[in-house]
Subunit: 669 residues, 2 copies
């Protein structure tokens, strides 16, 4: 609870809410128990003075920030140890502390130990034999060793077969000899690799008996366990400053004739025998599973980014007053400008829809990965296609939404004390990592085109693409009556037609003599457009199904609000792709105007609950870390407080005046 009285404009907003924010907060947290756990964790971590910053980290140099981050990462690590000793099993807790909101509240530019917990340990668990797990896990679990995961290289990312790092097995000593054959083969990007980790899982091209065997993971010791000096043959360091994730200590790694014992290759899936005989893996489905898992998790993260950004911008827009609407009236809260509402409210709606979709696809992932474990791979391609395009769409929309929120706060959004720059840095990164967005859309599109061919052949399609068969049997979309259901159906019809066009364009180019792959490349922009609409149709459908289902479970007051959110989301999504709608569905100018007026109407209906909706996201002030977005709404006071911490302001006259400015000003006198 805030110590200062709440800004009266913000107080007024809260008093006019038509629903109970706590009801929504509990729902958002995943139920009463989760809600209480969240509050307890926040208390434990955010009230610890050792984890608070006297000086905002934006004032630190890169080197200072690293040292600061490592200090806090070790405190968090120590707390995790204690929690574990107390019997806390921890998976949710670790996620919250390392990747989630809570982690971001403590180390907003990332944790240099995070990859140890979320990649190094899980890789050993997933790819090590039982014996290897016994050998390495206890050390890793206790943080006796700190590891990271080194796969991407300076010159190679998406295309794994292009990796250059190589491991040659030397049967005479039963060792692998690992080398970085060129500059572009340097490992690049792994978090914590720079100066933190002393071990890494290094992914390399395996050669045994002089033959190439494909990629394999090796545990490599990078630094001496006592002195932390780089081991012989290891060239290692920090890759430098970045747009965001500034505290992560992303590193580079070159290896020169680094020898590791046979047993350092993780051998659960493939083996090298002492004599160099290679035993190939049975299948590579498991890797798909991990990637899907990560992408599903990222969809939830994008919802969290939007929740943060929209909370800050909405609270600020309730407090900030500017530009009279009626020249005879005082300046209104800027949230009363319709143009401002159009910037903010769709982001709130997207936060809710992405969260709902993220939860939904998470459940779907669990069902399907259960099926996979039982050897049923039927739904794997469908799930893969869906997770790819949703990762791309949600991250791109979230990044754009964060910037829309920032820009809606005018100049003040540009200040680091708004926290928008950091939120953007973290959010836009999702567009690139774990599968670059365009690559993701192309993967989805390849699936869609294949499925389209099956549908043409009359084959029955799996649930999430069955709308394609429907559209093939329906040359014209009828009955667009503007109902939410018909908007969802129209989205599917439009998506099916975008896939049709991509399919037809590829066929056309094949008939012109191009091979399938070249034809697909020529049609790249048709393909990404089809995948985009597939994902958006799924989002529309999920929003419709899930939010209506939810509204049947909650109080009538909250149900009303959720329905406005749903309508706003769908009408806005439709208008954002109106070109595609008009292309495939007979709509008149007046129909479009009607949708636009309806959007305006949705904004008006959401307006009284805007602040309470973002309050319901229940983001702790430390999570928001924003002078513009604090719960108490004392925006100008918080901004002003932040300037008092600025090291430049600790001295009335900066030394550079005497050194440079005064001599310059007096030079001609």
């Amino acid at each position: 609870m805030p110590a200062k009285p709440v800004n009266p404009d913000l107080q007024k907003e809260r008093s006019t809410a038509t629903f109970n924010t706590r009801e929504f907060s509990v729902l958002w947290a995943g139920g009463e128990e989760r809600f209480k756990e969240k509050k307890a964790l926040e208390k434990m971590f955010l009230e610890d003075p050792a984890l608070q910053d006297d000086l905002p980290i934006s004032y630190l140099s890169h080197k200072e920030l690293y040292e600061h981050s490592l200090r806090k990462a070790c405190i968090i690590g120590e707390k995790i140890r204690k929690l574990r000793a107390d019997g806390e099993d921890g998976v949710d807790t670790y996620n919250a502390l390392l990747g989630g909101s809570l982690g971001a509240a403590i180390l907003k530019e990332g944790n240099p130990l995070a990859l140890h917990y979320v990649m190094f340990v899980p890789t050993i668990m997933g790819q090590g034999t039982m014996d290897q797990q016994v050998e390495w896990l206890s050390k890793a679990w206790d943080c006796e060793i700190i590891g990271t995961y080194a796969q991407t290289e300076l010159g190679h990312g998406t295309f794994l077969r292009g990796l250059e790092t190589r491991a040659d097995y030397d049967a005479s000593t039963q060792e692998f000899v690992i080398n970085t054959p060129s500059l572009s083969a340097y490992k690049w990007w792994p978090g914590g690799l720079g100066h933190t980790a002393n071990h890494a899982v290094v992914v390399a091209q395996l050669y045994t008996k002089g033959e190439f065997r494909g990629l394999a993971p090796f545990i490599v010791q990078l630094r001496d366990s006592d002195t932390h000096r780089p081991m012989p043959g290891i060239d290692i360091g920090d890759i430098g400053t970045k747009l965001g994730m500034k505290g992560v200590n992303n590193g580079y790694l070159g290896l020169k004739n680094v020898r590791v014992p046979l047993n350092n290759m993780l051998m659960k899936n493939q083996q090298v025998l002492p004599d160099g005989t290679y035993v190939a893996p049975k299948n590579s489905v498991l890797t798909y599973g991990t990637m899907m898992f990560v992408r599903c998790a990222l969809i939830r993260d994008t919802a969290q980014s939007l929740a943060k950004a929209s909370t800050i911008a909405t609270r600020y827009s309730a407090v900030r007053r500017q530009s009279p609407i009626d020249p005879n009236q005082p300046e209104p809260q800027i949230m009363d400008h319709t143009t401002q509402q159009l910037k903010l409210f769709p982001q709130i709606a997207k936060a809710i829809v992405f969260k709902t979709t993220g939860d939904g696809i998470w459940n779907m992932y669990n069902v399907i990965s259960g099926e996979i474990e039982q050897g049923n791979l039927d739904r794997l391609p469908e799930m893969h296609a869906l997770s790819c395009c949703l990762k791309a769409i949600c991250s791109a929309d979230a990044a754009a939404g964060v910037e829309t929120c920032r820009l809606s706060c005018g100049g003040h959004g540009y200040m680091d004390c708004s926290n928008f720059p950091t939120i953007y840095g973290m959010t836009t990164a999702v567009c690139t990592y774990e599968g670059e967005n365009t690559v993701m859309l192309l993967q989805t599109a390849r699936y869609l085109v294949k499925v389209y061919g099956q549908a043409l052949n009359g084959e029955k399609l799996v649930p999430t693409v069955s709308y394609i068969s429907d559209a093939i049997n329906q040359t014209k979309f009828v009955n667009f009556d503007g109902s939410l259901r018909s908007i969802v159906k129209a989205f599917q019809f439009v998506a099916a037609n975008k896939t049709r066009i991509a399919y037809e364009q590829i066929e056309l180019r094949r008939k012109q003599g191009h091979g399938t792959e070249v034809a697909a490349n020529l049609c790249g922009t048709f393909l990404t457009a089809a995948a985009d609409l597939h994902g958006r149709a799924f989002l529309a459908q999920t929003a419709y199904t899930e939010l209506l289902a939810l509204s049947r479970e909650v109080s009538p007051e909250l149900a009303e609000v959720l329905k406005v959110v749903l309508e706003l989301y769908l009408v806005d999504a439709c208008l954002n792709r109106i070109g595609d709608f008009l292309r495939f569905i007979d709509l008149t100018d007046q129909d479009v105007t009607k949708l636009e007026v309806r959007l305006e109407n949705c904004l008006k209906r959401l307006r009284p609950n805007a602040v309470s909706l973002v309050d319901s996201f229940d983001l702790h002030d430390r999570v928001l870390d924003s002078a513009l977005g604090a719960y108490d709404g004392n925006v100008y006071e918080h901004i002003f407080e932040s300037t008092k911490k600025n090291p430049l302001n600790k001295e009335p006259v900066n030394g550079a005046f005497h050194k440079y400015l005064k001599p310059f000003m007096k030079a001609h006198l």
Copy 2:
């Protein structure tokens, strides 16, 4: 010329160009003479070792960056002094050094002295009487005093009448007493205000004889000219870290009973007599002039941002290889992926079109401001409306384009050594300063709606909006034959219809009983959409007219390339607003597919000249300051070099290991 051999892929690109890059470079610079001047300035400034950085500034703390920036700013100031002493009149040179590419190459996060040159001095020139100019200008010109311009307040930006700072005239001492009555009245944002300037023009609400008189500018001494300590009653400092413009020393200022002599009010336009009698200004048109001037200049800046970003991304895309198109072939240059071309080439085209439009509107501004000086204000509203929406559109498109270029470079674009984060920070700022973009669009829209009413009354419209009359007389757009001319005409038809809808929606709400201003606010999103299309129609028209005119003046080879650029720009612009086209013009699904195939075709035709086009922008490696975008294309080498400068990498083991990590790792042993 680069010392290292050029990357062979980049060399190959250059050798396949179909036109002479120097011809285009000269054109881009504004003629042979300007081209030579540019080269001479680059030599003078960029080869001076005192103006080079050993350490990339992204590694500095905020305080260090300020001191570093002030040092360089003083060196630049000294050089400007010398140039002036040598008889260089300087306006272009100052602009290049303080705001342009050259300035950005020396001080990429901005110059804390810039506002002294570009706002303080010009304000005295524009608003001071002859006597005041004599008194202040020589001191300011010689940098004996350093000034800034303080208008915006913590709680007040766009709406100037809302400013709170007040100046009360005390006739007994012939002084003004200036006060900051509240926290939200603190001056906020002025560059150099924090610790650099010792004077400022402070804009305040003027009261004389107890009566309110409106805004007036006052010269206020902020700091002692010798000790640089803040003067009595002055509360001053740096506002803190920001998304960009990190070296500008943006400051805050509170005034408590600060007394300045009568003559410190700039009195060219309005006067206060010694007894407190107030003489009001004749008209406020001159202020409009300055704002238009600045906005026209900003349009050129956005072209420069796109030129920089597209140069970096295009060169990188020629060097980077990834993901085979044909699985049997090696990884291609990523520029061969059609999806990558769609990211890059439209940004190149926009850079050229925005530059052309910026030049065109600059000439238009000069003509119209000449008319204004002769008392002819006829074209002022038209010019104002145009400069507002173009500022908004070009800045928004440029910021989005920079991000598209950054994302097209994958993870490497996220590193500061790519220079994208800085370019984005500088570019997105333009969306907010000198008129926030939504406010700008609303200003344009208000003009359009007024003009629409005039057209309905049969009044003759001025040239840039005459298409509205045409559309009123034409219920249906016929003859969309896909020619470039018909795309331009269609853009105008669509724009006119967007204005029609905004007009009709306002009328509808007025009939429902709302006042005009409230009705306009309700229709805010219709209004901004209309202004957006107005600006885009103007850009399409200008691109068409100017680039075709240009192509008649240049070699046939260059003319061919310019025509491809024009076609790409227009087809892409049309597809980006295809919803509006389909709404008002009868186009079929097949028509749209045809446009999409044509876009693909434009990309293919531009492909062989892409690198040479960006080479023609002739951006010095220091201006680009990018490991990804250097002329020699040795991308991986440059990235690697940048890590060698990283202070973290100067020690094999960081001190934080001994302090935090080792105790943590060994805690349980």
